[in-house]
Amino acid sequence: MADNIKITVDGQVVETSAGENLLQACINAGILVPHFCYHEALGEAGACRLCAAMVSASADKPARLEMTCMLKAADGMVVSLNDPYAEGFRKGVIEDLMLNHPHDCPVCDEGGECSLQDMTVTTQHIHRRTRFPKRTYENQYLGPLVHHEMNRCITCYRCVRYYRDYALGDDFGVFGSRDRVYFGRVRDGVLQSEFSGNLIDVCPTGVFTNKIFREVYSRPWDLQTRRSVCVNCSVGCNVLPAFRHTTFRRIVPERNDEVNRFFMCDRGRYGGEFTNVPSRLKTARFEGPCLPVEEVTARTAAKLKQIAAEHGGGAIAAIGSPRASLEANAALSMLMKSLGGRISMFANNAERDAVRRATAITVSGELNIASLPEMEKADFVLCVGGDVTGEAPMMDLSIRQAQRAGAPVFIISPRAGKLDSFSTNSLRVKPGEESSVLDHVLSGSVPPKGALSGEQTDFAEALISALGSAKHPLVVCSVLHEDIGVVDAAYWLAKRASRLDRKCAIAFMFPSANSVGAALLRDDVAPETLHADISAGKIKALVVLERNLALDGSPFSDIEAAFSKVEFTCAIDFHENATTQQASAVVPCASHYSSFGSFLNYEGRAQRFDSLPIPGEWSRSAGEMLLSLVEATGNEEAIGEAAFSDVYEITPESNTALEALAVGDLGNRVRLAGKLPVAKSPRRNLQTATHNGLVAWNIELCFGSEELSMLHGPTRELAPQPFVELNPADAESRKLSEGEVADFSADFGLVAPLRLNANLAPGVIAIPVLKTETAIVPEEVKA
């Protein structure tokens, strides 16, 4: 802990630590120092000259004009912001900036949340004293997310410091000099960074604005917001979704110092558009006709009870959802309990095994699970078996910070992702072979001749030496590829790398926002068991919660076939999809950003999210809908005493913490009650099926592979068309060339244009996961 010191700011004594940025110290004490170019995440630049104040080393020393952002706080410092000279100077700066800034506040999309507007009013610059025309620029097309309006620029350099220096993007820059400085791309085109939306927040004026939000613009003061948690991946960034009347308008990141702090990814920022999807369900149905929700709930409950009475509870089952809240899944579990039925949470057994294993490791408390800020401080990073940018985007941004600070980044996976361009060492292996290389690292001994290739041995050796000297090593491992062998290998590596003097942190990238919550559900049944029972006609009633079975890679993906074997099916969801269309009864619920509940993110961190009350019977959250079903089955007593620990495998302390959790808390990490069910020793991966000399590998894309962000909105535009990838050598031996439409229908069920990728392991066919279902417009909307 740095030494505490005292400084005086406009007569007020402020405590801070020695060496803290003077401007930040003032802000921390709640004193507003006007500024543009300083940003807590980006640091100081001294570019805007607005943070000027009279500063002296101590009360008896003469003061002079200084940029507070460029000074470090020292004991006894005296800062005078309200000194007339400093005030005059700041007013002059604003007048200079306003020479060329357009007077378009009334039509500017930044108006109401613009720093320049605030600062101009604060310094009371009111009259324009110049008469010459203003400098103008041409704007650029930057893609479907960010709108560019260069005339509003005040050259604070925040955008380029963020995009290039912080997020390490390479398609954005600053051009020109003096009064013709330009911030943008070399030529028009889609911004390539997955974090481009943060430009909107870092730019203090209206140069970069949200292209979707400005289409149907609202002044920020007309928006209603509630704090929520992003639903588009397992990181769980805190967000502020905004509504105008009852329509969703936009998402901005909300600060949580233990999670995403200042930023978020574009999938999260723009992926919330599903809230306005035209296929939104607004009416309930029961065996055909639309009916009031209460009616459908009552009939569904009666039907479920009738089936339970006729065939026994064993004939009833439910499919929960790793992207539904803890509360909704708990209510579904209670419903099953009250009827004697079973519940299943996952798409297939491999996913279930991998997610439950990774969850067990995460919540056991044995290893340190790295938060995003902790990732930034890592001095060694190993990424195992996936593509961080597509699977947990904000982890990628955090790893970039570690890399900037000098951490070596090692990546072992079948296909290079964007992070590979910053890696110290990347190794391409066939899916599942990650573990054999890591086993070698674990044993630390020379492997038997021929066990590893020369390249693999080199990678392992380099990894051992880099890991050896690290003080804060970090292992990031993918669970999306449903490979328990890889999960185990990452766990054992992190465990063995933890020594007395240092802990090795670990983080798993899970498939969904609440995968960890789903994995902790106590009575979860393996999906393939359930599927076998359905095929055998043993299941008479099936309740599906917020789940489109057609897209999640489950054995139920032929929904029509599966549902035809079940007498009664009920789907609860917020939008019409292939699953709701096949269900006998449909109960609408609120979509994520208009419902409340809690998620457990990849750390097992419980975070509560809130919503605005939206009128309409279709706008109650899934959890409430399910509770009314429980009530209708005549089990309301169960609800009153329900605790999270009844249905989830968590400690009583975690249960108490969960119940006390409030919206906007930093969130607390839920821990497991029982013993850690992890393998005794590293376990080899199950052999992945090889067809025709090729093993399939799923490309998890930032845009395209996540279901909700693909429902609606600009994120759909960023998803690629279907393609397949082969290593050039594999293509050559098959006489296939780049761009050619390759027919892999016999082995992999797809025909798509071929891309050659030298950064794909040989013997692997890479196929993007594209969850782009054609939107279904429900009946009542059509009418």
Binding site: R164, D170, G173, F175, V186, R187
Partner: protein, 163 residues
Amino acid sequence: MIPQTLKTELTEYVKHYPSERVGLITVMHKLQKHYGGWLPDEAIAEAAEIVGIPEPEVEGVATFYNWFFREPVGRRIIVVCDSISCHLCGCDRLVEHFKKRLGIGMGETTADGEYTLLPVVCLGNCDQAPSIMIDEETYNRVTPEKLDEILEQLSAESAKGES
């Protein structure tokens, strides 16, 4: 496209520096010479590739400095200082004179592609204002008469070079 020999030469050249980006300016000058005095888009991409940095950084450098041109320019570049001392000492008269003699204003190139006229902010010769620069030569205390002499001399040189 630059010839392979030039590409190899430049690629080798930047390797002499501890960090290859240090060689960027020289690479850009050589490319500018190759492309006839200016840097077309492809030259920006080539410089980025040779030095191994993103294109926006090269574009940033190309647009920052006065002596890199992103548009075709004349064979000779005339810059006239229009900063304070030269302004007070009558640089405007020189600009007018260029207009009369060469038929070009600021930012324009003569029809024969010989001269491009550009403004510059202070050539560091304020004590001998007004000051101009033609290619790498600086001329001080310039008057319209002196300008005529300079231009005649230059066109004589050009004629000699051509014959």
